[in-house]
């Protein structure tokens, strides 16, 4: 019996529908489950109080501080380096040996697994530079992790500034740096900001590298050299040690909401930017 093309099509499409639908459903259901259990547990106290009894009670205040601190350090270090690299690649060179080497380095860095960054951060920042398990070690390690992302998005943003703007700026007597500063960067800013937000998202979710470099203390930190736990690390410890499923759900829900907010911000930024141009 020969199956007609239409039957084949119907069957194939049906399979795809089922596969895709169920896949997407499962993926969203994962989020839904954590949110369903965790959202009801989120009340202001949860965010303001520090963890007590190893995390069985209290809130996640210190982990929020830790997350913010680590992210800020990472962004403060990675953004100038990343944007500077992008400026160099787009404004000061053409495709050459130097630029190829730089791109190779950036591409490879983007592929390194987070646990390797953790090992590196441990032996370099914690031990070799004697920073110990600290916000500084963790933030610097995260900076190396998000650097490729920022370079990539900054390059795209700078590339999208029309060449005529630069030509006019030069024709009016601008030097290269003046042109970059007054014409290129202001116009590339939204795109660069999107890249920074993506870097923030990655920092917030990163766990392996953070545990190895920032420690896992849940005491509220008092300096850049204090060890700290981020929300993601706290969530992991709660879940794996089986300390408190309730707290885990709550922390997980908070984490998801935070990522949601950051991603939405980045998307909105990209949307506005694309429509302005």
């Amino acid at each position: 019996m020969k199956i007609s093309r239409h039957h084949t099509q119907g069957l194939a499409k049906g399979v795809i529908w089922v596969a895709a639908f169920s896949t997407l459903a499962v993926m969203f259901w994962i989020l839904y489950q954590v949110l369903r259990e965790g959202l009801p547990l989120l009340h202001p106290d949860f965010f303001i109080q520090a963890p007590r009894q190893m995390g069985r009670a209290g809130g996640i205040f210190s982990t929020i501080i830790g997350t913010i601190a680590l992210t800020v350090v990472a962004i403060v270090i990675a953004t100038p380096l990343g944007v500077g690299t992008a400026i160099f690649l787009q404004e000061y060179t053409r495709e050459s040996g130097v630029s190829r080497v730089i791109r190779f380095g950036t591409d490879c860095l983007a592929g390194v697994p987070s646990i390797i960054f953790g090992l590196f951060g441990f032996v370099f920042f914690v031990i070799f530079l004697r920073m110990g398990w600290s916000i500084l070690s963790g933030g610097l390690t995260l900076a190396t992790m998000i650097l490729p992302t920022i370079i990539c998005t900054a390059e795209e943003a700078i590339k999208s500034v029309p060449y005529t703007y630069r030509e006019v700026s030069f024709a009016l007597g601008g030097t290269r740096w003046q042109t970059i500063r007054k014409m290129v960067l202001p116009n590339a800013f939204p795109g660069i900001l999107t890249g920074v937000l993506l870097g923030v998202g990655r920092s917030v979710g990163e766990t392996a590298a953070v545990i190895l470099t920032a420690g896992s203390s849940f005491i509220t930190p008092d300096s850049l050299f204090s060890p700290i736990r981020t929300m993601a690390v706290h969530f992991y410890i709660l879940a794996r040690e089986g300390i408190s499923m309730e707290m885990a759900y709550a922390t997980g829900a908070a984490l998801i909401l935070l990522i949601l907010a950051i991603n939405t911000g980045a998307n909105w930024m990209m949307y506005r930017y694309a429509h302005k141009a």
Binding site: T8, W17, Y92, P113
Partner: protein
């Protein structure tokens, strides 16, 4: 030197940061790990199947096998479903709905791996334990969760490749009498092949490098796994679990595991580069 020249040199210096960091990473990881590989012997390190740090026995073969099976499993789960979703988004649903789904899928890709691990731990592991026996913490669980985790990557990039195809491909095929499905299967997917392969390699890189979720659901047994229901470790989880308390040779052995991982990832990157260059040529 004029101000402009100074600025140019400064930017050059900044731009060298990424390759410098890469070099630093390689240097320090190797510096810690290579001596141990030397000491134990490459063969017995890579092929030895006993990992007993307290007895100075450092064989990571079980972890290599674990990484292999878990990654393979994740690809078996992730690639067909991912490509199917890409086709679904691109060809089978109205563009307006796809426009809503796309950022949501991107969001799923941004969710931290620990969340997926958590879900695996409380939903999947008991399910497997009840249905198939065994501890539940298994390669099967790991593959399924890892597969789900790499889906956003595969879906986004494959879908982008499909959407980037010139409309004439589709229109040409349809006007020659092909059905929609025949067009997808025989024309569009083959044409987008290089992009889809790129997404698979990227997903593979992510799968090999995943740590936290795997620690949570693989069970972390150090023996050679003998079935998909076995508990196991991967190269990454080996490091992640023991780094907190390892010292001396033990710690160096973990760095050595990192060296092996480094080579595997670099190898994968090179393959990806070669394929992408061939695809372009």
């Amino acid at each position: 030197m004029s101000k402009e020249k100074i600025l140019e040199k400064s930017f050059l210096l900044i731009a060298l940061s990424s390759i410098s960091i890469l070099a630093l990473i390689a240097f320090f990881i190797f510096q810690q790990g290579i001596p141990l590989i030397w000491k134990v012997g490459l063969n017995s390190f890579l092929l030895g199947d006993r990992w007993f740090p307290s007895k100075e026995s450092f064989g990571i073969f079980p972890m290599i096998v674990g990484s292999f099976w878990v990654t393979l499993g994740s690809l078996i789960v992730g690639v067909p479903l991912g490509v199917a979703c890409a086709v679904f988004l691109c060809e089978l649903i109205p563009p307006t709905i796809a426009m809503i789904l796309r950022p949501m899928i991107q969001l799923l890709g941004a969710i931290p791996s620990v969340i997926y691990g958590f879900w695996g731990l409380i939903v999947l592991v008991p399910l497997i334990r009840d249905s198939f026996g065994g501890p539940g913490l298994s390669i099967l669980a790991g593959s399924l969760v890892l597969g789900i985790m790499i889906l956003p990557t595969i879906i986004s990039i494959s879908e982008d490749s499909l959407r980037a195809l010139p409309r004439t491909y589709k229109e040409g095929a349809l006007s020659l009498g092909a059905t929609h499905w025949q067009t997808i299967w025989r024309v569009l997917l083959p044409a987008a092949r290089s992009g889809i392969v790129a997404s698979i390699i990227l997903g593979m890189g992510r799968a090999i490098g995943e740590t936290m979720a795997m620690i949570m659901i693989l069970g972390n047994a150090t023996q050679l796994p003998n079935s998909i229901l076995s508990s196991a470790r991967t190269l990454t989880t080996n490091i992640g679990i023991e780094m907190g308390y390892a010292s001396g040779d033990h710690r160096q052995a973990l760095f050595a595991t990192g060296v092996v991982l480094f080579f595997i990832i670099m190898g994968l990157n090179s393959v990806a580069l070669i394929i992408s260059r061939k695809g372009r040529a």
